[in-house]
């Protein structure tokens, strides 16, 4: 025992030294590989002025999962490129593009004329790309007997004209209105195309009783729990514990449930394009990335519950 102790002590010291040695070699290797992505980037730098290998991509929460999936798949094909994707809402992404802090802004609504003007004033004339389509589903609690609504009924419900489910063929319950915050592109789209029924001169607004939820998850959890609730969200975010309502353009039209097919054939009335914006004509790696999204990347669109371009 007494003999063994010092020996084992030496051994453990050796092991420690070895570990340290291996670690230092590893860190040197890691450093040198980390430097590598920078090297090929210096070469095209003179050509297109793109100095970073990071593409900053920010905006719509509707698009964030899809944008992440694209970024991950594309990064596998191009290990030298890193794409950072953040959400925050279409308004957030567009504001960041106006301020020149992102390369690509994701938006679930088109930029407003004053936003385009602000971006141009800052020297970032925006270029618009439609990258996928989305349908907005109107959702209720699974126990709610209401299966179908017309656009006009949805509008009346959200402006506060209809306040009880019995007025649209349901039980005698108050209606609790759920919406995304006003910085969400989905909110603006819903206001313009559902509440105002696409009428530019209409000044209808969300009822002041509308609960503005900070996230899609906030809406789905409230719809799941509350039999009084009605909400709306992107088709990609509807889980099976919520019930989707079939929508008709008007009382004579047929009621259609949102699905990939009904959006593509145009029969579902609440669907919209999803956008990516770049500051100016995209060049270099940003251009290659967008080209990839518009072609090979479309496979992922379907997988995430959105509707691919055709």
């Amino acid at each position: 025992m007494a003999l063994h102790r010092p020996i084992s002590g030496i051994k453990s010291k050796n092991i420690l030294l070895r570990i340290l040695f291996i670690l230092s070699i590893l860190s040197i290797l890691a450093l040198s590989t980390a430097c590598q992505p920078g090297e090929p980037d210096i070469l095209p730098e003179g050509g297109n002025g793109q100095q970073t290998t990071t593409i900053e991509n920010k905006g719509s929460d509707t698009l964030v999962n899809l944008a992440l999936a694209w970024a991950e798949d594309y990064a596998e094909l191009n290990p030298n490129l890193s794409i950072s994707v953040t959400g925050g809402g279409s308004g957030t992404g567009i504001a960041a593009m106006i301020n020149g802090t992102v390369d690509i802004a994701n938006a679930s609504r088109a930029m407003k004329p004053e936003e385009v003007a602000a971006a141009e004033a800052n020297g970032f004339p925006p270029m618009e790309f439609v990258v996928a389509r989305d349908a907005i589903a109107v959702v209720v609690h699974p126990s709610n007997p209401v299966d179908e609504l017309t656009m006009k009924q949805v509008s009346d419900i959200y402006t506060g004209k209809i306040t009880n489910w019995s007025e649209v063929g349901g039980e005698d319950r108050p209606i609790v209105l759920l919406s995304r915050e006003s910085n969400s592109g989905t909110h603006v789209y819903f206001l313009e195309n559902v509440i105002r029924l696409g009428d530019k001169n209409s000044d209808l607004l969300f009822s002041p009783d509308t609960l503005l939820m900070p996230s899609s998850e906030g809406i789905s959890s409230e719809v799941r729990l509350n039999p009084n609730a009605i909400g709306y969200d992107g088709l990609g975010y509807v889980t099976h514990d919520q019930k989707m309502v079939a929508i008709a353009q008007d009382a004579n039209g047929s009621y259609v449930l949102p699905s990939v097919e009904s959006v593509n054939d145009g029969s579902y009335p609440i669907s919209r394009p999803l956008f990516m914006y770049t500051a100016g004509e995209p060049t270099g790696q940003i251009k290659e990335y967008l080209d990839w999204i518009l072609n090979e990347g479309q496979v992922l669109v379907l997988e995430l519950g959105f509707v691919p371009l055709q």
Partner: protein
């Protein structure tokens, strides 16, 4: 200290000067920073007076993407949630403080005090999540409100959040009541209950008021929690049932919308204007608290 000052006088004078100067600079800089923050708030918020007509700004409809900037529902929402939270928290926390300080045996106090302090350390987002998933459904079922996300839900959780602050400060206030007061009361034949409610609590009244003010300051400034559980509907809370309907508070509005606005836009200035209003509200609360602390000190001098 006294010895060293005699043995090497010049060095002591130099270090003392340096320390004094440093403390002075630090003290004044913190005041300076507060003033600068206020000036910044004013600079970003005051343009609102020129950009938004006063009738709109003091209106009843908040819908900024259509240029409707009525701040009344937001201010009243904040005040409603805060007041109800304090009404719930006040009796609970004063009773807790009295129990911990006056009634509980030593070993219970040793357990309770650190537990209350741990309560203060729970992040508000955790409380908000707890409220959203557990309290809100409970309120929906038990009270039969249209939704569980109401002003009352927010007030309930805010009360829980303000509780530890109020208990700790109120307990310190009770602690600073001289033992002779209790002894005199008990010696005159008062029961323990009479001593507590007629002598000790009134003697610590100003400290308890301070505690409540501090709790209120915490509640009115809380953001994440109210954003998660109050439903954020900018309705005017003027009807009797408003407590059991959703509200939108000032803080939640600033937090939810600040990320979206373009710098320098009207909406941006309005949000800073809201910040000024909030600053003034908390300033008034803190001022009240400070003045009661000051009164308490003067009385302490009489001891």
């Amino acid at each position: 200290m006294a010895e060293s000052s005699v043995t090497n006088k010049p060095r002591r004078r130099w270090t003392e000067f340096a320390t004094e100067a440093l403390i002075k600079v630090l003290g004044f800089s913190s005041i300076g920073i507060v003033i600068l923050i206020f000036l910044f708030l004013l600079r970003e918020g005051l343009p609102v007076l020129f950009e938004v007509p006063l009738g709109n700004f003091l209106g009843t409809r908040w819908y900024p993407i259509e240029d409707l900037y009525g701040i009344l529902p937001l201010i009243l929402g904040s005040i409603l949630v805060t007041l109800v939270a304090i009404i719930i928290a006040l009796p609970l926390s004063v009773a807790t403080a009295v129990f911990v300080r006056e009634v509980a045996p030593n070993w219970v106090r040793e357990i309770l005090k650190p537990m209350i302090e741990v309560m203060a350390g729970i992040p508000s987002v955790v409380l908000g999540f707890f409220g959203m998933t557990l309290i809100a459904p409970l309120i929906l079922q038990v009270l039969g409100t249209p939704t569980g996300l109401t002003a009352f839900t927010g007030a309930l959780i805010l009360a829980y959040m303000a509780l530890p602050t109020i208990v700790s400060v109120a307990e310190d206030a009770l602690d600073s009541v001289p033992k002779s007061y209790r002894d005199a009361s008990l010696a005159m034949g008062a029961t323990q209950w009479q001593t507590i409610w007629r002598v000790v609590v009134p003697a610590a009244r100003s400290g308890i008021v301070t505690a409540v003010m501090l709790g209120m300051g915490r509640a009115i400034g809380e953001t994440m929690l109210v954003m998660m559980v109050t439903g954020n509907a900018a309705r005017l809370p003027t009807t009797l049932d408003s407590l059991f309907r959703p509200v939108r508070t000032t803080t939640a509005t600033i937090a939810a919308e600040m990320g979206e606005v373009a710098q320098g836009s009207t909406h941006y200035h309005v949000l800073f204007g809201l910040g000024i209003v909030l600053f003034l509200l908390t300033f008034i609360i803190n001022l009240t608290a400070a003045s009661t602390i000051f009164k308490k000190r003067r009385r302490g001098g009489l001891r």
